[in-house]
C-alpha cells in the first residue's frame, strides 16, 4: 500500500542555476507534482483498509537551498490518504526517527486512544517501532494528519486526508486538487522558539519606525504606554519562512491543471506551524462548499482567511483558456505562497504584489465594546453610514489594559498575562485581521451555514469560559493564565452534556483553537444556523463561542494550533466522563 514515490530531478531549476548534477532530488507525492491534473482514481494514493506510513529524517529542498526535514514515505507534504465513510482502517506507522513520534488525525471522530497525542491519548511511537492505529471512518470531507510530538510538524510531518462520503457528494465537481499550505524553515524549530524567548517580536522586521507615518503620535504613545506593538501580527513570518503550496515555494510555482468550463474543487488545508493565510485567486470567484470537512451552504467570496489547522473546500469554474494565480498571502504580508491554475503546464498569470502590512486597532486590544473609539471599531460599513470616522484619535487610554476585576478567580493573573481585554466582543462576524477594508467580498464565519444541521438541538445547559492569555515580551502562552507545564486544571465535561464554551482572547494575536475528538457549533447567532467546525480562529481582543455536545468519552487535547504557542504552554486536556465500557477496547 506504500505510495510509489515519483522522484523528480529538478532539472529546470537546477539548470537555470548552473547546478545540474548538484541539484538534490526532491520528492513530491503525485497529487502535489507541479502540473498535476488533479486527484484521479488511477493515481497512486494511500487507500484501502491497511495503510503503511514511514516517518523518517529527510532532506527537503526549496529554491536553491536544502534543509533537514521529517517526511512520511519520503514525500513532503506527506502522502494523501483517501478513505471512504463507513470503512474501517488500520494505519501502520513506522518510526524511523531517533526520537518518539506520533500522528494525530486532525478532525477525525475516533476513540480517544487512537487520537495520537502522546501522553494524553497513547504513549507515542518509540524509535524503531511500528504502531497501528485502527478505527472506523464515521465522517467525510477534507482533513489532515500531523505529528503531535515536539515541533516535528514544523519540518514536514503533515499530510492531507480526504474521506469520500458513503452517499452522494453534496458539492458536485468535475476535477479536484488538494492544496496544502505550509510554512518551511531551514532553521531548527527549537532555534525559532529560542529566538522568540530571547527577544520579543524577534522575527518582525516590519515594526513601526520614526517616519513611516502610519500612526499619530498620540496613538503611538498609547501603544507604547501599554508596551504593545501594533505591528505584532505574526510571531514567525517571511523573514524566516518560505511559504509552500503542496511543498512548492513561490518561485517553483505549483501548477494545477483544469479544462475551461470544469468545476474545480480545491481542498485547502492550512498545515502551517504558525502562518495564517489570506487566500484569493484574482479573476475567479470562489464558492465555499466545506469548512473543516463539513458541508456548508455554497457561499461565494473573493477572498478568505484560513487560520492554522482549518480546511476549506472551494469550487471555482474557470471558463477561459488562461492561467490564474492562486495567492496565499501571510497575514502580516511578509511573504506569500503562490501557485497557478492553468489549462496547460507553463502558463502563468500576473502575481499580485504583497499588500501593505496591517496594523492592530482598538478592537484588537479588546476595546471592541466601545463605540466610535478609533479606526478599528469603525468598520467600513459604519463609516459609510456616517456613524463614525475611521482613524479618530484614541480615547480609550483611561481603560486599564490589565484590570483583573472582571475575571473569575481561577484565572491566574501573573507574569504570563500581559493584557486583559477590557471590553472583548464577539468577533465571529468581523472580517479577518487586515482584510477589513478590502473592496471585494471577504468571507467571515457569519457567512458559513451548515448544509446539514447539527443533530443535537438542545440548548447548552451551562457555559465554560476559557481565557486565552499570553505575554508577548516573554513569549509565554496559556489558557486562564496557566501554562500546561504549570499543571493547568483539566476541563471536565459530563458525557453527552451540552455546553457552551466561550473563548475570550486577552491578547493581540489571533489564536486558532482546536479541540480533539469533537465537532462544535460555532455560535454566530445567524438565522441560517451555526457552522460545524473543529478549529476556530479567535480574533485579537475578541471572543468566540461554540456549543459542544460532549459525546466522546475520554481525554482530549484542547490547544492553540499555532505550534509555538502550544509549545509555550497554550494547551490543556478536556476530560469527558464517565467512560463507558468498551471505549478503549
Amino acid at each position: 500500500m506504500n505510495e510509489p514515490t515519483i522522484r523528480r530531478r529538478s532539472i529546470l531549476r537546477a539548470g537555470a542555476l548552473g547546478l545540474v548534477g548538484l541539484g538534490l532530488d526532491r520528492n513530491f507525492p503525485a497529487w502535489a507534482q507541479k502540473g498535476s491534473a488533479g486527484l484521479r482514481a488511477s493515481m497512486p494514493t494511500l487507500t484501502g483498509e491497511d495503510i503503511r506510513l514511514r516517518v523518517a529524517h529527510d532532506i527537503f529542498k526549496v529554491g536553491a537551498r536544502a534543509g533537514h526535514a521529517i517526511t512520511i514515505n519520503g514525500v513532503l507534504p506527506a502522502p494523501l490518504i483517501r478513505l471512504r465513510e463507513g470503512q474501517n482502517v488500520r494505519l501502520h506507522v513506522e518510526n524511523s526517527l531517533d526520537e518518539d513520534t506520533s500522528i494525530h488525525w486532525h478532525g477525525l471522530i475516533l476513540p480517544f486512544h487512537m487520537d495520537g497525542v502522546p501522553g494524553i491519548s497513547f504513549p507515542g511511537i518509540r524509535p524503531g517501532t511500528t504502531f497501528t492505529y485502527e478505527f472506523s471512518i464515521r465522517q467525510s470531507g477534507t482533513y489532515w494528519y500531523h505529528s503531535h510530538s515536539g515541533l516535528q510538524e514544523q519540518i514536514g510531518h503533515y499530510g492531507p486526508l480526504v474521506i469520500d462520503p458513503a452517499g452522494e457528494e453534496p458539492a458536485a465537481y468535475d476535477r479536484e486538487h488538494v492544496v496544502v499550505l505550509s510554512d518551511w524553515t531551514f532553521q531548527h524549530p527549537h532555534r525559532l522558539i529560542t529566538k522568540l524567548k530571547q527577544k520579543g517580536a524577534y522575527f518582525n522586521r516590519q515594526k513601526q519606525t520614526l517616519t513611516d507615518g502610519t500612526m499619530t503620535v498620540a496613538d503611538r504613545a498609547m501603544w507604547g504606554g501599554m508596551r504593545m506593538d501594533p505591528t505584532d501580527i505574526a510571531d514567525i513570518n517571511g523573514s524566516t519562512y518560505s511559504f509552500l503550496i503542496n511543498g512548492h515555494g513561490a518561485t517553483e510555482n505549483w501548477t494545477g491543471l483544469f479544462r475551461p468550463g470544469e468545476r474545480v474543487r480545491l481542498r485547502f488545508i492550512n498545515a502551517s506551524a504558525m502562518t495564517i493565510f489570506n487566500v484569493r485567486i484574482p479573476g475567479l470567484p470562489m464558492t465555499v462548499v466545506h469548512a473543516d470537512g463539513q458541508p456548508v451552504r455554497p457561499v461565494e467570496t473573493d477572498e478568505f482567511q484560513i487560520s492554522v489547522a482549518e480546511t476549506y473546500d472551494i469550487i471555482v469554474t474557470p471558463t477561459a483558456e488562461q492561467a490564474y494565480t492562486l495567492v496565499a498571502e501571510a497575514i502580516d504580508r511578509s511573504g506569500m505562497g503562490r501557485a497557478t491554475l492553468a489549462p496547460r503546464l507553463g502558463m502563468v498569470a500576473p502575481v499580485p504584489m504583497l499588500r501593505r502590512r496591517p496594523i492592530l486597532s482598538m478592537r484588537d486590544m479588546g476595546m471592541g465594546g466601545m463605540v466610535a473609539d478609533g479606526g478599528g471599531s469603525c468598520p467600513p460599513e459604519h463609516a459609510a453610514m456616517g456613524h463614525c470616522a475611521p482613524g479618530q484619535p484614541a480615547t480609550a487610554m483611561r481603560h486599564s489594559m490589565r484590570d483583573a476585576s472582571s475575571l473569575p478567580a481561577n484565572v491566574k493573573i501573573g507574569v504570563g498575562v500581559d493584557m486583559i481585554a477590557p471590553m472583548p466582543v464577539d468577533r465571529t462576524g468581523d472580517r479577518p485581521l487586515g482584510l477589513e477594508k478590502e473592496p471585494h467580498r471577504v468571507l467571515t464565519y457569519h457567512d458559513l451555514a451548515p448544509l446539514v444541521p447539527f443533530p443535537d438541538k438542545r440548548p447548552p445547559a451551562r457555559s465554560v469560559d476559557i481565557h486565552l492569555t499570553g505575554n508577548m515580551e516573554r513569549f509565554m502562552w496559556s489558557f486562564d493564565g496557566k501554562k500546561m507545564s504549570e499543571g493547568a486544571e483539566p476541563i471536565r465535561f459530563d458525557h453527552n452534556e451540552r455546553v457552551r464554551v466561550n473563548l475570550i482572547n486577552n491578547s493581540m494575536m489571533n489564536h486558532p483553537i482546536h479541540i480533539h475528538g469533537h465537532f462544535f457549533e460555532l455560535v454566530t447567532g445567524q438565522d441560517h444556523g451555526h457552522p460545524i467546525k473543529h478549529t476556530v480562529n479567535v480574533m485579537p481582543g475578541g471572543k468566540a463561542s461554540f456549543d459542544l455536545t460532549a459525546d466522546a468519552p475520554g481525554d482530549w487535547a484542547l490547544h492553540c494550533h499555532l505550534l509555538y504557542h502550544m509549545h509555550a504552554g497554550m494547551m490543556n486536556v478536556v476530560k469527558v466522563r464517565p467512560l463507558s465500557a468498551g471505549d478503549a477496547a
Partner: protein, 315 residues
C-alpha cells in the same frame, strides 16, 4: 458522522423519560425547519445591533431546565482520571504524560548579550569599555550574569565587575534580581550584595536599577535606562542614561555621598542582522559633588565627552 451523532443522541434520549424525548424531538424538527428556510443573512455586528440597524438572534438563550441525558455507566464526571491508562496501562502512560505536561511550557533558554563593546576616544586618553550580560533559565527564574568595565589603553582596567544574580519574574515585564557583585578593579577587591529590578517600563524604556551593599558596609546604587528609536527597521538610535548614587563617601573608590556621577549618550547602530550591530555614538560623563572633588584632587577631569565606536551582539 452526523448520522452517528444523531444515533448517539437518540440512544441517550431513549434512556431518559419519554416525555422529554417527545419534547426533544419536536424541538429538533422545529429547529431543522427554521434552519432550512432561513436565508443567508448579512452579518449583524454587535455595534450595528446597538445602533438598531439590525437585530441579532439572542446568542445565549437563558439556561433552560434541560435534563442531563441518562448515562448508563455511572455518575456524572466519574471514572478514571486518565482515560488512556485504561487502554495502554498506567505504567506506559505515566512517563509520557509527565513529558507532555513539562514539554508544553517549561522550556529553558539562554542568551548572551554584549550590549556595548566599544572604543572610546576622549580628550587626552583613549580607552575601551565592555558591558554585557547572560542568562539561562525558564520563564520565571533565571541565573543572570552581568559584567562591565572600562579602562585606558596601555594601563590596567580602571573598573571591572562581575555580577552573579538570581532573577525572578515579578510581573509581565520586570524581574527582581539579587546576588553578588565582585569588583576585580579598582583594588582592593570588593564584594557587594546586590538587590535590583530590571525590565521593560511603559513606552518601551529598558530599565536596570540596583542597590549594592559592599563588604565594608558602603551602600551605593545605579540606575540605567535606554530606549530604542527605530529610524528604519535596521537603523536604530539608542539614547542611554546612567546615574550612580552613594549613601556615604567611599574614599577608597573616590566616590562621594549623594548623586556621584551621570552618563548620557546616544548610539546609532545598524543591525546587519538583529544579532549583530556595529555602532557609533557620543557620550557625556560627569562626576558630581564630593566625587568631583575627589576626582579633581586626584588630578582627573570631572567631565568630558567621548566618541564611541563599537559593536552590539547577542546569541
Amino acid at each position: 458522522m452526523m448520522r452517528i451523532l444523531a444515533i448517539a443522541a437518540l440512544i441517550a434520549d431513549a434512556a431518559s423519560a419519554s416525555a422529554q424525548h417527545a419534547g426533544h424531538e419536536a424541538n429538533m424538527h422545529a429547529a431543522e425547519g427554521a434552519s432550512q428556510l432561513a436565508p443567508i443573512a448579512p452579518s449583524c455586528s454587535p455595534e450595528h445591533e446597538k445602533m438598531g440597524h439590525c437585530a441579532r438572534p439572542s446568542t445565549l438563550p437563558p439556561a433552560p431546565a434541560v435534563p442531563r441525558p441518562a448515562i448508563s455507566s455511572g455518575t456524572p464526571l466519574s471514572g478514571p482520571e486518565h482515560a488512556a491508562d485504561t487502554a495502554w496501562g498506567a505504567e506506559a502512560m505515566a512517563p509520557v504524560r509527565a513529558t507532555v505536561y513539562s514539554e508544553h511550557g517549561s522550556m529553558r533558554t539562554g542568551k548572551l548579550l554584549l550590549d556595548r563593546l566599544e572604543y572610546r576616544a576622549m580628550k587626552g586618553r583613549n580607552g575601551y569599555r565592555w558591558d554585557g550580560e547572560g542568562w539561562y533559565g525558564g520563564d520565571y527564574d533565571r541565573l543572570w550574569l552581568k559584567s562591565e568595565g572600562e579602562g585606558s589603553f596601555g594601563a590596567r582596567p580602571e573598573s571591572a565587575e562581575l555580577q552573579a544574580l538570581w532573577s525572578h519574574a515579578i510581573d509581565p515585564w520586570f524581574n527582581f534580581q539579587t546576588g553578588i557583585r565582585y569588583d576585580i578593579r579598582p583594588r582592593p577587591h570588593r564584594a557587594h550584595l546586590v538587590v535590583g529590578v530590571q525590565g521593560l517600563a511603559p513606552y518601551f524604556f529598558e530599565i536596570d536599577t540596583a542597590l549594592f551593599l559592599s563588604d565594608r558596609g558602603d551602600l551605593t546604587a545605579r540606575m540605567e535606562a535606554e530606549y530604542d528609536q527605530r529610524i528604519t527597521n535596521q537603523l536604530i538610535l539608542q539614547p542611554r542614561a546612567e546615574m550612580e548614587f552613594a549613601a556615604q563617601n567611599v574614599r577608597s573608590a573616590g566616590i562621594g555621598a549623594g548623586l556621584s556621577s551621570i552618563e548620557a549618550g546616544v548610539r546609532l547602530r545598524y543591525e546587519i542582522v538583529p544579532e549583530f550591530a556595529p555602532y557609533l555614538g557620543i557620550e557625556y560623563q560627569r562626576s558630581l559633588g564630593k566625587t568631583a572633588d575627589f576626582s579633581r584632587a586626584a588630578g582627573n577631569d570631572v567631565s568630558g565627552f567621548a566618541f564611541v565606536a563599537g559593536v552590539r551582539a547577542w546569541f
